[in-house]
Amino acid sequence: MRQTMKCHRIRKKLSVYQDRELKPEEQEAISGHLQSCQSCREQYAEFERLWQTLGGIEEIDLGPWFYRQVVERIKKPPERGLLPALQRGFQLLRAQAIASVLLAVGILVGIYLGDVMVRSDFLPFGQTPAGYLQETFLDSLRAFDPAPPGTLAHGYLQMAGYKGDEIK
């Protein structure tokens, strides 16, 4: 069935209609419309089905000793002193404390691994192990040349710059 403007307005109110929270005249008007409009009736039926479905959830009950337990709790003196206060404080800060410890461990591991994994002969300053030569350091910097010696690119550049008089 074609949805009219009236249907559109009514569908917006179906939830409140179901909860019987509209003014009596509006409740009646919607009841009348639902009798004559199948499409809106189907929409409303979905609300009713949901209501029934939700009724399927279990209800639980308390044991016979509940009242006694409440009274015991009322009569129990409140926890005082430094230790309970510290425990409560720790509970509140537990997540932050765990995050801080993990961060500190991460930083220490990072420092250790950085120290172990970076080769000392790439370091221009600082540690100078036995047998360290200035030439070794300069050679290592050649790794950043566009065509380091011994590579194909270096060979090509040599050939491109070939001059007959270089061959003796």
């Binding site: 939830s15 409140v16 909860d19 929270e21 979905e46 609300f47 089905r49 949901l50 209501w51 479905t53 939700l54 009724g55 399927g56 959830i57 279990e58 209800e59 639980i60 009950d61 308390l62 044991g63 509940f66 009242y67 337990q69 409440v70 009274v71 709790r73 009322i74 509140l92 537990r94 997540a95």
Partner: protein, 200 residues
């Protein structure tokens, strides 16, 4: 007091009158009040939180607060609205606190609507097959409810299971009636979508 006498007293006094007696330290009035409201408070918490043991603990906390607040209680609104407001606030606080416990929730999947602590509670299921089907259905409805934002969930529970009016729900949640209307419409739409399977 003999049982019949006790039932008579139980019927005789409204919850508001019982509160006036509790304010004077009448423990018997408190016992009647607890018995009268314990199941509705417990189930409101259980449906909201989804954990039996936690629900029982919070239910005790609600009545502890009722006892403590009896002296300052003023019967301006219905007693049920007042006690539901205490309950709702405790539930919201518990939810905030439990966000700090996400670790344990993560390590304990399916903890919602768990069966832990069932020994305290009466078994209502008649047969094994019924039990399995009912539990599965219950679990899915519970999960759908749990997926709602907290205010929508509380409004929905108060409407569906406690049949509170929009005005009463508004007082419990501390919001306007039009806000309750909007919360319920959104909650119903979400639940219709999530529980389509049951509704066919």
């Amino acid at each position: 007091m003999p049982k019949n006498g006790r039932e008579a007293v139980d019927q005789e006094f409204s919850s508001e009158e019982l509160m006036a007696r509790i304010a004077e330290g009448d423990e018997y009035a408190f016992e009647i009040l607890v018995h009268r409201h314990q199941t509705s408070v417990l189930n409101l918490i259980y449906r909201f939180i989804g954990d039996r043991v936690q629900a029982k603990d919070l239910c005790q906390e609600v009545f502890l607060r009722v006892w403590q607040a009896a002296g300052s209680y003023k019967p301006e609104a219905k007693f049920t609205t007042w006690i539901y407001r205490i309950t709702a606030n405790l539930c919201f606080n518990e939810l905030k606190a439990s966000r700090h416990k996400k670790w344990s929730q993560f390590l304990r999947p399916g903890a919602n609507y768990e069966t832990r602590g069932e020994e305290d509670l009466p078994d209502r299921s008649p047969s094994a097959e019924d039990l399995v089907l009912a539990q599965e259905r219950n679990q899915q409805i519970a999960e759908a409810l749990q997926s709602l934002p907290e205010k929508q969930r509380m409004a929905m529970i108060l409407k569906r299971y406690d049949d509170l009016s929009y005005g009463e729900i508004a007082r419990v949640l501390g919001c306007s009636i039009s806000a309750v209307d909007s919360l319920l419409v959104r909650a119903k739409r979400t639940l219709q979508e999530k529980l389509k399977f049951f509704q066919k």
